[in-house]
Assembly symmetry: C2
Homo-oligomer: 220 residues x 2
């Protein structure tokens, strides 16, 4: 049983490694958009290779834990949650790649004013990702709930930013292509926040056995 505890600890550590790679990819993808620098975007593409390997490694590790130790109750739910969270993290990595690709397409375009919202949304989203993982590894229910609360903030910022970008397009049709790319960046950030929310919901389910998933979803 000592051995099994150690393996659960290893699963946590692998998920933390995954999460820190994904957080760094998100940060770099947004830096690339805002600073019009291709280097961080290219780094995101390199990080993605490692994220993809790690996803498979973690899945195999978790499935082997289930097969070898046939855990019950809390441990079983912890491992199943780990498998789901692994999947959410990998999707976040994909979304950071989407943002990096938009950044590369936008490099030559002049800086436009509505961009100032993007670092703001990105900072909130990154803090949600970090908190959702911290809540998972420490089983911290209050922290998981604070992630759910942040999601409303992201929705409000996204909505304000959409209106701003649409007005910007209406003022001058030359802005349309660039604004459509920026809409996509914002939407990708919003989807990252949705995945962080999923993780927080899994944590609440895992720790309290309360299924909050479809309360939270009513807000989507």
């Amino acid at each position: 049983m000592r051995h099994f505890e150690e393996e659960l600890e290893q699963l946590k550590n692998k998920l933390l490694e995954m999460s820190s790679l994904v957080e760094s990819a998100i940060y770099r993808s947004v830096t690339s958009v805002v600073e019009k620098d291709s280097e961080p975007a290219n780094e995101v593409l390199r990080i993605e290779v490692r994220v993809n390997q790690l996803e498979i490694e973690i899945d195999d590790f978790a499935v082997n834990l289930l097969a070898l130790h046939q855990p019950m109750a809390a441990d079983l739910r912890f491992i199943i949650s780990g498998i789901k969270i692994n999947n959410d993290l990998e999707r976040m990595g994909d979304l950071a790649v989407n943002i990096a690709q938009r950044a590369l397409a936008l490099i030559e375009e002049p800086v436009i004013q509505p961009m100032i919202d993007i670092p703001h949304i990105a900072a909130l989203v990154q803090s949600m990702v970090r908190k959702s993982l911290d809540a998972f590894v420490s089983g911290d229910v209050a922290l998981a709930r604070s992630v759910l609360a942040s999601d409303d903030g992201v929705d409000d910022l996204r909505s304000a930013s959409f209106h701003e970008l649409i007005s910007f397009m209406e003022r001058d049709p030359h802005n349309i292509r660039q604004a459509v790319s920026l809409l996509s960046v914002v939407r990708n950030l919003e989807r990252i926040a949705d995945h962080a929310t999923n993780i927080a919901e899994d944590v609440l389910f895992m720790t309290k056995g309360i299924d909050v998933r479809h309360h939270a979803e009513a807000r989507e």
Copy 2:
């Protein structure tokens, strides 16, 4: 063991029920966009309530199967795949809700020409959803591979439709709000196709033990 086989069959049937609800939600959401009829969109919102209940039911059922029977090898991978597929189906349901909400926002707008692509993309996406689930329940590798191949078709259609919608905005700024909503409909359909692709990848992993996930992802 007889009993366990029956329970695996029940898991399949629940996932098929989930999938047929989700397919019907996708169909109705697109009908609502194309026919400017609010009734199918409202029906999608009702279907979503059932989809959300069923997701929790299936998760609990699968976790109980793991806890009670502690299956090995193929059965373990089948149940884990079922949990992942359940999650993908629920996300598809959310995406159909997004489309239904766009449909309701577009009801009063005049019909514009680029919409003709949407039923085309939707038909392809719906067939991917159906095939991915059929591949799962029958363990049909060739069918799963055909889903992966279709995803490229969706990407091409999406890309053509984006260019068309952007030109449409550039021609007349009055079209911008409507075109942004239609961009969102297309993007939601593309995300549904991505989930069908995930399911097909899980089927290949489950049946052959080959992990194709990150070949497919290179195409995203």
